[in-house]
Assembly symmetry: D2
Homo-oligomer: 306 residues x 4
């Protein structure tokens, strides 16, 4: 753990975000957001991080089963068809309201907003219709995210198994974790913050079983993510609840304020093990969002390759 | 076009497939199939194909709208939630029976079988249950497909715009296309066969609007894919109908016979344009299937990077 | 067929509807609409129509299968659960976008509107939200429709099998049919207009396979339904297309103008046969809408009892 | 409360059911089950119970919202369409896995079975397929249930507000309730057993929030329902858990053993109030199941008319 530091006030956070948001940075009509930081050169460089060729998924299983933190389970149903002579096949139907705590998914830029508006200052009353999102929808990112990924392993840094309710992750701790891991974060990177959710879930209660009380990241992480100038954040736990700030989206504000792509409910425990095994905390990351025109996000399977 | 060659008989095809299928090649319990050909070294090599860093999606738009070749359209519905003070967000619900002609998706090894059984000889009556697929389901491929992709551009080779009903693609033509493009296919590659579907759809009728009459690939392509020892096939058009062979799965037999990962309804027109622009027909390909435990496939967004 | 009469102009129809709509008739806040005409006494009287006790369904089968007039098929998927010792059960999942031509369903008062507004003059921009309908939703009718039903059998009157594109049903014909059947329509009745759809579908093409050309009812039926002061309309075919009037909802205007409950895609061929067999054209009708709070309608199974 | 009586053993219950089940009673191929008891004459008589004409719904609201006893909430999503000039409409999409504790629904005869088989002795391995139920599916009842309904009001009989975990409802109590209410149950009746669920839910916890501990009916009610020779059972609470008998379906056995139509999660509190107000415990009941071919049940809205 890092030494305690005084927390900012709500007003200081709001002021910081207003002063530092990326609106207009890539033009008023930009819907790529921080993915603009992933230049062609950045992609080439990301591929050169691959040395052993080992790949692994950062996706939790498609959540079909009801659970205290899975109030609207995903649906999967089977079909079978016959095709003579003596042949056939199987099909299935999948349905999901994927935003939430159980399915690994990506949030498009239209997913959240605050009093000042959506990404780049757009008005949700104009852009979010009964039919679809007309601004910052997931299809804008259909060419995929291919960049350098960096894991920040909180439990290892702390010497524990997982983040608990009384020990939120602050922005300065993320800095310290990076330093202790000897990894330098670069613009356009995807930062994966591992909080030990799977271990926490095994010991129970399930993360966000109580939506009003759950461990996670403090709003001071906002400043860290902004200064890191990252393109993407992946996490297993996210905004702690409750917070002392009374902000609608303490850390999820990275979406509308900084244009950052957020992958919620990533599976990071196996990644942490591989990072330790490989002796490095950076890797090539690919996230290929489904081309859902007007969608607010989608299921994804982020893959790390070493 | 290549010079006409005599077609094999149904029996010759069946015999070829039986004699050359990959069952047991990677062990009786193997569920990776031809993805075994993508070794760590193959992945490393694939990343080294990236030179300019240009990425593009090979996914067609999520098919919400009814169409003659989209009899069971995908569903996407919006939600909006409020979070005081003056903040909020949007969510959506997605549902799809994705196998078919309109959505870009991947077929798991359990998707098809013939009289001899599923991949590796398993019995569909045992493995396909009302709940899920217990063998060859898509979650087995959750660590993703990262390999060398090769585009075979049929319209360019033929000097036309798209493959028509009376000019099916034969295996020997695929060989000739590769030669003419100066590209050598290697084990574990992903082969993308571009037939000009988008151009065909623009001139109409939509591909597979009539499920019994549609242009595509002849069963002689089976031998080509087997000899190429590819891991993956992507295509915009696939098995021609009708065929002279009375086979249940003329070309889709690559799934159960060879263990090949098949990406149906890929969007290849933009890829063909980029290949011409970049002056090369190979690239790094990533396909990251969703971790649907027991699923028969899933929506995917294949991404090519040059 | 009745003798041809001159058609009204668009303006005459619009003027008629404006002058005769039921807005305010049962109070400004009324959401029951013409179901107010089904008084307790009307219900008692309806039950007294039951003499032989014969019941039959007026519902078409749940439309799971794609068809030219079923662009968004209903979904039904099976589950099975085990419960030791040696016992178990089956469940299923049903999903449907039921408005359209194939599923027998009821339209709530919020289903349609024109330039003057929804039922009772409400503004759809206020009442239809991304979450639900807040005015005229189907739950307002949860206590059910129990009233006298009257069948008007067009094919029998005409001596044909079904209504065709060039012989629309006019309001004066409905009057003539009732007279010829010896049936007097009373306020609050449910009028079932049988056009012979099943016979038409058997000879093809399916009704509304071409959404722009289909046989059905002319807008002159509006006046008939208003003068009949019916509570409910059931039909197998409805608004003919094209019409000479350029009205957004030629006959479906009964919903927002008169507050009439409309049951679309009713199965009336068996009812016509029973009416002939029983020698009468009135019966007790029950329609019990599902209590979908905020819904725009629902699947129903109207049942006629003689 | 009635005086305690000794409980039967598991073997006695099994033996009673085996000796008294209705298999073969209406023929080996019968799929109507106890609805055979609703003859034409029974229907006529049911209509004559209507005296004041008052109707009310016995359906709980469509359960869209997650809750401890609603692990798979129903889905409803809105659409809006425009139709010039200045007109339009609203539609919605509904999806539900309706079996369970929250949605008012009917169980088809295929819904449950025990070691001896399904209704009429059929084998579930033959009749329940991945596609649908081929025996005892809900479409067999599409002509509806129109019969005499009888309410048995347990809280009123007991002088309490609702049935609790430690006071299960036994068969002999149902007899006593009927006697105390002065109502005679007749063959083919629909019996509505009111346990006070809504009051119990208001005081919490929600009924079946814990699936292993919930108040309800004891298996001795089986004998009562069989001797009553009822066609239909409606209830707000059903099989108590745990039971002393280790039976897979203590009271839900009425489905496969006696062929009884069961309406789960009926809303009976308003009915109890109306029965008291009207001073009678019988009424006309209509239940009109949706014509879902091969379905295991469906949502219903039972309507009582006095």
């Amino acid at each position: 753990m890092t030494a305690p530091q005084p927390l900012p006030t709500r007003e200081e956070i709001v002021e910081y975000v207003r002063a530092n948001r990326n609106w207009g940075r890539w033009g008023e009509d930009d819907e790529l957001g921080a993915l603009n930081l992933i230049t062609d050169a950045k992609r080439v460089a990301a591929t050169r991080l691959v040395r052993t060729g080992r790949s692994l998924s950062l996706a939790r299983p498609y959540p079909r089963h009801p659970a205290p933190n899975n109030p609207t389970p995903a649906v999967m149903y089977m079909e079978r068809f016959d095709r003579a002579p003596d042949a056939g096949g199987s099909k299935d139907y999948q349905a999901i309201n994927y935003h939430g705590c159980t399915a690994t998914h990506i949030d498009a830029l239209c997913h959240t907003w605050d009093v000042d508006g959506m990404w780049n200052g757009r008005d949700p009353d104009q852009e979010i219709t009964i039919d679809s999102a007309r601004w910052g929808s997931i299809d804008r990112w259909k060419d995929g995210i291919l960049t350098r990924g960096v894991l920040l392993d909180i439990p290892r840094f702390r010497g524990g198994r997982y983040v608990t309710q009384d020990t939120p992750v602050h922005g300065w701790e993320l800095e310290a974790v990076a330093r202790s891991q000897g990894v330098t974060i670069e613009p356009g990177d995807a930062i994966a913050v591992y909080c030990g959710r799977e271990a926490s879930d095994r010991e129970g209660p399930l993360w966000t079983a109580d939506p009003n009380n759950r461990p996670g990241l403090d709003a001071t992480c906002l400043k860290f993510f902004r200064e890191a100038d990252c393109s993407t954040v992946l996490w297993d736990m996210w905004d702690i609840r409750p917070t002392p700030y009374n902000l609608p989206f303490p850390v999820h504000a990275v979406i509308f304020a900084f244009g950052v792509a957020v992958v919620d409910a990533a599976l990071l425990e196996p990644l942490a093990a591989v990072c330790q095994g490989e002796g490095r905390y950076d890797f090539m990351l690919t996230v290929n969002p489904i081309n859902v025109v007007g969608g607010t996000g989608c299921l994804v399977n982020p893959v790390a390759t070493f």
